[in-house]
Symmetry: C2
Subunit: 226 residues, 2 copies
């Protein structure tokens, strides 16, 4: 790497660290280019030499949070501790992942919030690399769903993993906000377990008793074929 490229890289890293620090203390709303420039000791314009805009900097921070989240979920997923012995293993795995999401949200606080509070300025699309960075997370949820809903094709399973994630996210989000649900983590934990166990059992029974309106035409694995 040349001197100039190295300097750029160093500035980039310093800005990401500074932005991450600000987000974890003050949230996304506390992020201001002027303050960041001051903190890393560069001119305001220098930020825009290494990031096209502030959105790109936020996405770089969020990608780091996603990577931490991925590692966090993966570790929880491997540990079998606390798994209720009487529960369907695939359902128990969904519960473990949901609990890990709550734990992650509690420990990452405002950095966790920044993941879903950030919106691209104007009407710009979220870049593809960032969308790709979310994928490994969902594949963890897709695995137990493959077990619980074997008749779904890949795309249906992919969607269901996201919807299930969003459902858990809703409880964690409104719960930690103290909206509708109490903010106490143990209570929230029990509520999440209650909902995710039902969801898992329901996936299993929806799969074994197909409804009168089966989704046809898209299933490649076709257990519901008439």
């Amino acid at each position: 790497m040349g001197k100039a490229a190295e300097r750029r890289q160093n500035l980039r890293d310093a800005l990401i660290r500074a932005a991450e620090h600000t987000i974890s203390r003050e949230g996304l709303a506390g992020l201001r280019a002027r303050d960041l420039a001051k903190e890393v000791g560069c001119a305001l314009g220098a930020i825009y030499n290494v990031f096209p805009d502030l959105d790109a900097l936020v996405l770089a921070v969020n990608a780091r949070t996603l990577a931490a989240f991925d590692q966090f979920l993966g570790e929880t997923d491997l540990s079998k501790t606390g798994q209720p012995a009487d529960l369907d293993p695939a359902v128990a795995r969904l519960v473990r992942l949901a609990m890990a999401y709550l734990d992650f949200a509690v420990s990452y606080g405002l950095r966790w919030r920044a993941l879903f509070e950030h919106r691209m300025a104007g009407k710009r699309q979220t870049p593809a690399w960032y969308i790709d960075a979310q994928k490994p997370l969902f594949s963890l949820v897709e695995e137990p769903l493959r077990e619980l809903r074997p008749e779904l094709d890949q795309e249906q399973r992919r969607m269901l993993a996201r919807s299930s994630f969003a459902a858990v996210h809703g409880i964690v989000h409104l719960g930690l906000d103290g909206k509708l649900l109490p903010v106490e983590v143990p209570v929230l934990r029990r509520q999440i377990e209650e909902v995710v166990v039902a969801l898992g059992l329901g996936f299993r029974s929806a799969s074994s008793t197909p409804r009168k309106r089966p989704r046809r035409g898209r299933s490649s694995e076709g257990r519901q074929r008439k």
Copy 2:
């Protein structure tokens, strides 16, 4: 009502209408006391003669949105159209309520968002009257749960209604934001149906096959008693 009281009431109503209009166009973030005073033609300080602070004004707007939502849900709940004939009626009712929530969110847009984006300034508590205003909504969700999980006591059912609501909220919220899920309403509708049907079936089967760790001590209806 005296002349002064009537003037206060008129100013109060005008401010609520103006704030509601601003929120529905620009969202909560667009609300500024100075602009509101200008719009209704009063002095800035006059706002604080009728509302202790801007939070109180936002809560008054949100209470109107909640009332509209309550009416919206109630009407959907009564209509039986579109109810799949082969589905457990209590599960079908949960699905209808969830769909109504999506429809409400789509049609109320930023006013809907203001319901959960608003946070009280400082560490102040949400006033009790506002928390009470949310209750009728959840009683609609509690009714099918009484059917699906008859062994729960009132407090457990109350909590489960809120957790189930929060789960649907998560899908609607991340979906309409275009986060994780596609923003297209018909796709979102199918995903919500998929999740809520599973949730309902799961509640039913969790109730009929109690787990080895029953919740004891709090159940007043006690079907799971050992």
